[in-house]
Symmetry: C2
Subunit: 282 residues, 2 copies
């Protein structure tokens, strides 16, 4: 059990992390940090955190500093925190990209106190109000470059995630970013683009609302996601995202060609192939 934990970022992930640490009595005190006064007020009101402090004061008091903010800011802030800590403190992040971050602190004298993690859950909602107590359970958490971590730091972070019910997966940072682009980031891009498509074509908002039962809702869910969180993810991971986005556009063009040429056999073939996803995702 920790005496004091600081969460930098008190939104969906950071706020939920503070909440579950408190509720499961894994931390006596959770300090929350945010650039937004409204977010801090909401996090205090919702009981996600106990207090707020300046970053340097918070870090000085904390056994663990957990960073859950947009991935561009994460690189900067983790760097700052690494310069503040001593050898018995632990730093971890929860970002959706790992390569730029791991690369940025390679060779830092405190590198071995840092654990790069990506708990694979999320919703389309953001901010402290989106935090939930059952958020980590049953999901995978990727830990990158564990060989760079001191054993006690790694074990502590692993233990927390296991206590929260997560299944641990290990990867190097470059592989993580590639897999995350293929499975997660492209799904967000397609959903954002689908929302823009429908908003562009369908000028009758009533029709969207009334007909959304036909499959649109789940497919467009991620289009409600926060640009502040996701724009930096796409930019940091742009090579992998572009790679899979190009493939996706070419897959859509196959459907287009089937329809243009009324090629029913090929249309079936494409759909039967897509059905294979059932084998993997129940």
């Amino acid at each position: 059990m920790f005496d004091t934990v600081t969460v930098v970022g008190v939104g969906l992930i950071g706020g939920s992390f503070g909440l579950v640490l408190k509720e499961r009595k894994l931390a006596k005190k959770v300090i929350g940090i945010s650039r937004s006064k409204e977010s801090i007020e909401a996090a205090l009101r919702l009981g996600l955190i106990d207090e707020t402090l300046e970053l340097s004061q918070a870090v000085a008091k904390s056994d663990l500093i957990y960073v859950a903010i947009p991935v561009d800011a994460t690189v900067t802030v983790v760097g700052e925190i690494m310069d503040m800590i001593s050898g018995n403190q632990i730093v971890a992040d929860a970002g959706s990209t790992k390569y730029a971050l791991c690369n940025s602190i390679n060779g830092h004298p405190m590198r071995r106190r840092f654990v790069a993690t990506h708990p694979m859950w999320g919703t389309e909602f953001s901010g402290p109000e989106a935090a939930t107590r059952d958020s980590f359970a049953g999901r995978s958490c990727v830990i990158c470059e564990r060989e760079q971590c001191e054993e006690d730091a790694l074990l502590t972070i692993e233990e927390i995630y296991k206590t929260l019910g997560m299944h641990l997966v290990y990867m190097d940072a470059a592989s993580h970013d590639m897999h995350a682009a293929y499975v997660s980031h492209i799904a967000h891009i397609t959903s954002f683009a689908l929302a823009n498509t429908v908003l562009e074509k369908e000028k009758e908002e009533d029709a969207i609302f009334e007909l959304a039962g036909g499959g649109f809702e789940s497919t467009v869910r991620l289009a409600k996601s926060s640009p502040a969180m996701w724009a930096p993810v796409f930019m940091q991971n742009r090579e992998n995202v572009l790679d899979v986005l190009n493939e996706h556009i070419s897959q859509l063009k196959k459907f287009k060609s089937c329809l243009e040429k009324e090629n029913n056999d090929y249309l079936w073939e494409l759909m039967v192939n897509a059905n294979k996803i059932k084998r993997i995702i129940k």
Copy 2:
């Protein structure tokens, strides 16, 4: 209350329709029809239907004949049924396209006994096992060309859907198909294409399984849908689907261009615009 109803097609929609008619005592007897012996056996076992007969025998005994099969077969079968009925029977369908069907029976002497409907719900599952008792409630049902229906036929069908908890929406058939392409059909195409994209790029199935928590699952859900059901929808509605598919490809290319040119401002603009979908879909 009906004495006897025939459902042609005992899958997700037809099977659920039979089940709710029986459970709510809206029909004394439900006759089920399917080309598949296995489907009929399952529908009998699951209590979705009471018996099966040849189509002509079933029609002869029924107050209402409800057709819920792929939209290409619907055109043929509804035509056959219309030739069999008398002036006090009612025929309705549940297909995802309406224009080709309505067009095909225009001028039929029994046209006014037919009600073209599209209950806007569905899941990615198909067959009798997918039928559920709570399936229609809270969703919209589109009724097309109501002015073509005799009043008693229209009122009866409206009454059933209202009893099932559906919200009725009225459109002409061409408008229905356009709106359905924009809101429902494109979502299925993007989901099928996304599954193919990920299956093509991500050769490590474990990675798909473990990282799917990152948003992939909901976006790819519809890719599990039945080609037998959806290929005819896309083909029958190909002009509208192509129109919106072209727009979708161009929206994806905007994201691609942002990433290629590292144009963060435009990327934000696209995402902020997509967020507007929150106004319409909660």
